[in-house]
């Protein structure tokens, strides 16, 4: 895992612009090359992938590899957030939506009303890490403690075994699938005995526009806590072990613990298309799900599908 100083978030729209300048040819429905690892570049055309900031590093690598294999293909990737991606799919401004949460019932209804039929494809798994500053003595938290921190009921680190210092809880903004996933699974404690669907993020929680910014603030600020995807964890921050309840053992986020199901805050990373994908888009997704594609998942820091 490498340190990300650069703000990919700004670079990606530029890449999108660049890619968009290349002419779009939309009629390659006939090319159904199901073996994308062949170097024969029968596939051509361009499409866009918009959505989750979390999935973006993975999608970018896949898109680069796929474009190397098929030089006539252009893929534009941008990562404003899962909600933004789903909105783009409904509004017809993207071909693939990348998401770090499942689509909501209300969004399916909005999509159907707009004549869009969302088709879900799991492409990888993510362990949502909870990170703090390396100097923070706290090394594990229960889901209930995290919930109390993010609802604003616990405001000092000494309430969870740390120093006497205020807690700066950092979240993503509402564009983000991670925002919604964390709210449902951690803040509202989905599936636990203490589940409470009325809980919301406290109003002192910082909502930042990108995952990189959250990680960089935690790296600078000993009071801060944030929840980036596994692929964004750098050496400058310390991941916490998560306990489902106070009686369970703490589990650190890793590829292994996410795969064997012991890490409590793991989630699927998804692609949504309008109907079952065909042509060039099918070619791309087949590549993502192939052994070569899944091997890239580990390289980027996420967890491959089983």
């Amino acid at each position: 895992m490498h340190i990300r100083n650069s703000k990919k978030w700004f670079v990606i729209p530029l890449l999108t612009l660049l890619a968009a300048t290349v002419l779009v040819s939309s009629c390659n429905e006939s090319t159904t090359t199901t073996n994308p690892t062949t170097t024969s570049s029968e596939l051509s055309g361009s499409f866009s992938i918009i959505g989750s900031n979390t999935v973006t590093p993975l999608t970018t690598v896949w898109a680069e590899e796929f474009m190397k294999m098929h030089p006539k293909v252009n893929i534009a990737v941008s990562g404003p957030g899962s909600g933004a991606g789903i909105a783009a799919l409904i509004n017809g401004t993207t071909d693939i939506c990348q998401a770090s949460r499942t689509i909501k019932q209300t969004e399916i209804e909005q999509a159907n009303a707009a004549g869009v039929d969302p088709y879900e494809i799991p492409v990888a798994t993510d362990a949502l890490s909870v990170v703090v500053h390396p100097s923070n003595p706290v090394s594990e938290l229960t889901i209930a403690q995290l919930s109390a921190i993010y609802t604003g009921n616990i405001t000092n680190w000494n309430e969870v075994g740390g120093d006497d210092a205020p807690i700066i809880a950092i979240a993503r903004d509402t564009n983000s699938g991670t925002h919604v996933f964390f709210k449902e699974h951690v803040v509202q404690m989905l599936g636990l005995a203490t589940e409470d669907k009325t809980l919301e993020y406290g109003n002192k929680v910082l909502q930042l526009p990108s995952t990189e910014e959250g990680v960089s603030e935690v790296a600078k600020n000993p009071n801060a806590i944030f929840y980036p995807g596994l692929g964004y964890v750098t050496d400058e921050v310390k991941p916490l072990a998560i306990k489902t309840t106070a009686d369970d053992a703490g589990v650190l986020p890793s590829v292994a613990t996410a795969l064997d199901g012991t890490y409590p805050v793991a989630r699927p990373l998804l692609y949504y298309t309008n109907g079952e994908p065909t042509g060039i888009i099918k070619g791309f997704i087949d590549y993502c799900l192939s052994d070569a594609g899944q091997a890239k998942v580990t390289e980027v820091g996420y967890v491959p599908l089983e």
């Binding site: 957030g81 909105a87 700066i168 564009n175 919301e200 109003n203 930042l208 526009p209 960089s216």
Partner: protein, 289 residues
């Protein structure tokens, strides 16, 4: 004949701006106002909870409004005195050589992209503010306000310097002839004489501070509480629009709510300009006496 052609051309250009302006107002009202069928205006303006992605969603924009107020106050409090002092120095004190080098540099500063300013705020200023004020985090309205002050300074300096230079030299000569010092001349003659231009400069600066988006999105912190002090993390109106619009489905409730925030921003800047106009008028009359 040629004269007529150019006249109608200019007339059309003038008309176009008005048409575009009206179009924007109509669009903002049309897309935004339906939110009041869901959330009554009272709750919308004075509500303190903003949960657009919850079921059911809640839309209260008080936190954003107060945040914009704080950030603008901080920016104005810093940029106006510094800006006017700098303009007075450049116009009245500095030798020609200094002015001719410094002024273009300051004007160049105005061209800095706001993303760059946001990045500087994030990496350099926020740790400084955090340690200087002993805050739990440096991502706060204060940091955003200071960055905005830097961003509106070039406009304020440039426009008020022009205004002061336009004050006729006879005014200064007369002042010196009465035995006034340089400082007294600047304070009692040059600044009052250039007041209309200075007011315009300040208003341009305030307008920039209210409308600036990228920088506040990056450094203001984005907390949804109603901020009681500028040292708290906060989310001004522009940041609220930017961080929510990507997620909003066209015609949905959040979309409407964000358009209404846009409408309020528009009304706010309009009000600033109208007030400025009034003040200007009154000052002018006072000065004539």
């Amino acid at each position: 004949m040629g004269e007529k052609f150019i006249e109608s051309w200019i007339y059309l250009a003038g008309l176009l701006t008005i048409v575009v302006l009206l179009g924007i107002i109509v669009l903002l009202v049309k897309e935004g106002v339906p939110i009041f069928f869901n959330t009554p205006p009272w709750e919308f303006f004075f509500g303190t909870n903003w949960y657009p992605v919850s079921e059911p969603p809640t839309f209260g924009i008080m936190p954003f409004f107060v945040a914009t107020l704080w950030v603008t106050i901080v920016a104005t409090a810093i940029s106006v005195p510094v800006g006017i002092a700098c303009a007075a120095y450049l116009s009245e004190v500095a030798p020609d050589k200094v002015r001719e080098t410094v002024k273009p540099v300051i004007e160049l500063l105005a061209g800095f992209p706001s993303v760059v300013m946001g990045f500087i705020g994030l990496m350099l200023l926020s740790p400084l503010v955090q340690s200087a004020f002993n805050l739990p985090t440096g991502l706060a309205g204060l940091t955003a306000g200071i960055m905005l002050a830097f961003m509106s300074l070039p406009i304020i300096i440039s426009v008020s310097e022009d205004a002061m230079r336009a004050v006729p030299d006879e005014f200064r000569q007369a002042s010196y002839a009465l035995g006034a010092t340089k400082w007294e001349t600047i304070w009692h003659v040059c600044i009052p004489a250039a007041l209309s231009g200075i007011t315009a400069a300040v208003m341009l600066g305030v307008g920039r501070a209210i409308g600036e988006t990228m920088t506040v999105l990056m450094v203001a912190g984005g907390a949804l509480a109603v901020p009681v002090s500028p040292t708290e993390p906060m989310m001004p109106m522009t940041a609220a629009i930017a961080s929510g619009i990507g997620n909003a489905v066209r015609g949905g409730l959040q979309y409407q709510a964000l358009f209404t925030i846009g409408l309020i921003l528009f009304v706010l800047t309009l009000a600033v300009n109208l007030i400025a106009d009034r003040v200007l008028e009154r000052q002018k009359r006072k000065f004539q006496r």
